[in-house]
């Protein structure tokens, strides 16, 4: 049973199960995560298997959930909490920014908070308003939080296990549109650790840098480009924090051109950061300015218009076309 074909939702569920059974200090809680198994079924069956103490429903209050997690973590537990949707984590923002992120530092290292905050995020599922925010920049900008987002079921399994084992708080962002895509998952062969980017596709002409929900789109774009004779490399960032400068910069230097892809609105975003740091570090290797394909600076659109907001293959290829090939 080394490998199994699983959706990302199933892989996450498996990660929670394995963590719960291996470590008695792991507790899973949030809204509707008990008997219902979560609105996305990520916690399916956990209460039945581990009992009401280990996986339980809370009253409907996100600041309460995260605040209680802080206290439990102070007292020896490893809480894994679910925020039902991206925008519904906002009521917990003060607890996250002022406590989860700061407690280790405030206490001079005496109180660490091994908390995982799971956030299903981003669009692509036709959700109504407040259900599709790409909120990673808020967390990535906050010192003291690690921010992880898997793009494959295998990564989802291993990165969630690693996040739960981490002594530091992790905001674990789950691209909801990828919950149902299946893939062979190897449970035994660990993937590269959080903090390592991975080259998902080799290529020589330009580098696409993506994370979470945008990785499959980037791969699709690379496939389409290949058909037109252009060789695109795809890097999956995996954890916006800690960021893997080494892998990303090596990739960009190898091609001399790059496009950063992310669903979130572009202004003051993780994508801005990637453009800025890649440029700072690889300036003289760049044949063209690093381009961004991101969401527009607008509230997430209604379902009928969301396709215009999401980075798509054509838009990515347009950005690649824009990389001043005439210079060559």
């Amino acid at each position: 049973m080394a490998t199994e074909k699983l959706s990302m939702a199933q892989a996450l569920n498996r990660a929670l199960r394995d963590s719960l059974s291996e470590d008695p200090s792991v507790y899973v809680f949030g809204e509707d995560v008990g008997p219902l198994g979560g609105v996305f079924r990520i916690t399916d069956g956990l209460t039945a298997e581990f009992g009401e103490d280990r996986c339980f429903d809370t009253p409907l209050a996100e600041s309460g959930i995260v605040g209680m997690a802080v206290g439990m973590a102070m007292n020896g537990m490893r809480p894994v909490v679910e925020m039902q949707f991206d925008a519904f984590a906002y009521p917990a923002f003060e607890q996250i920014a002022s406590h989860v992120a700061k407690t280790r530092n405030r206490t001079r290292g005496r109180v660490g908070l091994p908390i995982v905050i799971r956030v299903p995020f981003a669009g692509g599922i036709g959700g109504v308003e407040h259900h599709c925010d790409s909120s990673e920049a808020y967390y990535a900008h906050t010192p003291g939080l690690k921010v992880v987002t898997p793009a494959t079921p295998e990564d989802a399994y291993h990165l969630l296990r690693e996040s739960i084992a981490s002594p530091d708080p992790v905001v674990f962002m789950e691209p909801k549109k990828l919950y149902w895509a299946k893939e062979e998952v190897d449970f035994d062969r660990p993937v590269p650790a959080m903090g390592k980017a991975v080259v998902r596709r080799e290529g020589t002409d330009a580098t696409l840098i993506a994370y979470g929900p945008s990785v499959p789109t980037a791969l699709e774009a690379a496939e389409a480009a290949a058909q037109e004779g252009r060789s695109l490399q795809v890097v999956d960032v995996r954890s916006p924090v800690p960021f893997d400068d080494e892998t990303v910069c090596a990739a960009v230097r190898s091609t001399g051109r790059a496009v950063v892809i992310a669903e979130a609105s572009g202004y003051a975003s993780v994508a801005s950061e990637i453009v800025a740091r890649v440029t700072e570090r690889c300036f003289h290797s760049l044949a063209a300015p690093v381009r961004r394909v991101t969401g527009f600076d607008i509230p997430f659109p209604p379902p009928k218009l969301e396709r215009f907001q999401l980075p798509g293959v054509d838009r990515i290829l347009d950005a690649v076309d824009d990389l001043q090939w005439e210079d060559q």
Binding site: L36, G37, D57, T58, G126, V128, D297, P299
Partner: protein, 361 residues
């Protein structure tokens, strides 16, 4: 500081009609007159028809999602009818029937559920706020609208709706407290339908009742049988009028039950069984009121047909509205972000327009 007096709710939810539609002692609550009850009944029937029609449209794949208030129509009706014209209603995603009872065109309400846009109606046209999704946040907006009205010397009352689950959010607390401190005329109306998605009330609170939360803010709390349309209407009208006269907020908890799953996306067999749901069918708000009005000979056969036809007309209007092509223009993505768009948005709008024009080729 005020006295306790009048801040604690009654031991049991107030009632005017029992489950058989027989009048019971309302502990001082006065039965609305027949004209008013008939109005309420009409609204109940339309509300039920709206719920059923929306459910059908979801099953046909014409609406993406619908959180139904099936079984809660007495609350929906009461919330809308208790208000005067200048008053405001602050509904949630589950209160479509109340929004429609208040006069909003059902087709405009469907904008959200069709995925065309977010809030689909003009909030100022009928003084109905956009249906709120982030739980309990709208209660504070209601306080602000009330406070602004009070500052201008208007006697507006705000009916602010939320569910049992939403009472756990910090914003519920802040809203009741602000309303009490500023003497803002808001009626906080909690539809306790026993569930927040899958979470039953007992996991939501250990309070004797949700109406017992009022005293902690100095706000009078009341409990009403949420499936008794006469009692709900009477309690809400009383709350609205007392809020209007003394400017202070009121908290009303209606005890009702969510008959269907949270939305069509939910699977309620995972957390409750039909043994729990079925008994509530007998407490249906429509049949109860219907029995009473028939017994009183207020509801004639002819009248009943007329009401059914009115409800059918609303349903037909909904079907027709859903069928109508109302696809929004992508350019609109940029027009409402600011009154005065930033250069960045203009640039992005131009980018998309260019992309679309190239696609057009």
């Amino acid at each position: 500081m005020a006295e306790h007096q009048g801040l604690l709710p009654s031991e049991r939810p107030l009632r005017l009609l029992d489950e058989m539609g027989t009048p019971v002692d309302g502990s001082g609550l006065v039965m609305p007159d027949h004209r008013r009850l008939l109005e309420a009944y009409t609204s109940l029937v339309i509300g039920r028809r709206v719920n059923d029609q929306a459910g059908a449209l979801v099953r046909q794949g014409r609406l993406a999602v619908y959180p139904s208030s099936h079984g809660q129509e007495a609350c929906q009706t009461g919330a809308a009818l208790a208000l005067a014209e200048g008053d405001w209603l602050f509904p949630t995603y589950r209160d479509t029937a109340a929004v429609i009872a208040r006069g909003v065109d059902p087709v405009e309400v469907l904008t959200l559920l069709k995925g065309d846009w977010h809030a689909g109606y003009d909030p100022y046209a009928h003084k109905v706020a956009p249906q709120a999704t982030p739980l309990a946040t709208q209660l504070l907006h209601a306080v602000g609208v009330a406070h602004a009205a009070r500052l201008r010397g208007e006697d507006t009352v705000i009916m602010a709706l939320c569910g049992d689950g939403a009472t756990s959010e910090g914003d519920f607390h802040e809203a009741l407290n602000f309303a009490a401190v500023f003497k803002a005329p808001v009626v906080f109306f909690v539809q306790n339908n026993e569930y927040a998605i899958s979470v039953p009330l007992a996991r939501q609170t250990a309070a004797p009742s949700l109406a017992h939360k009022g005293i902690g803010y100095g706000v009078p709390g009341e409990r009403v049988d949420g499936n008794d349309a006469a009692a709900v209407l009477a309690v809400l009208e009383r709350a609205v009028e007392s809020a209007r006269s003394d400017g202070g907020p009121r908290l009303v908890e209606a005890h009702t039950y969510r008959m269907q799953a949270h939305t069509n996306a939910d699977d309620d067999t995972r957390y409750r069984d039909s043994g729990e749901v079925d008994p509530w069918t007998e407490r249906d708000p429509l049949t109860r009121m219907e029995k009473y009005l028939k017994r009183k000979r207020v509801l004639t056969k002819a009248k009943q047909t007329e009401i059914a036809e009115a409800a059918e007309a609303v349903a037909a209007h909904m079907r027709e509205g859903v069928a109508r092509d109302t696809d929004p223009e992508p350019a609109e993505l940029f027009t409402h972000v600011f009154a005065d768009p930033t250069p960045q948005l203009n640039e992005q709008a131009a980018f998309l327009a260019d992309e679309l024009s190239r696609e057009g080729n």
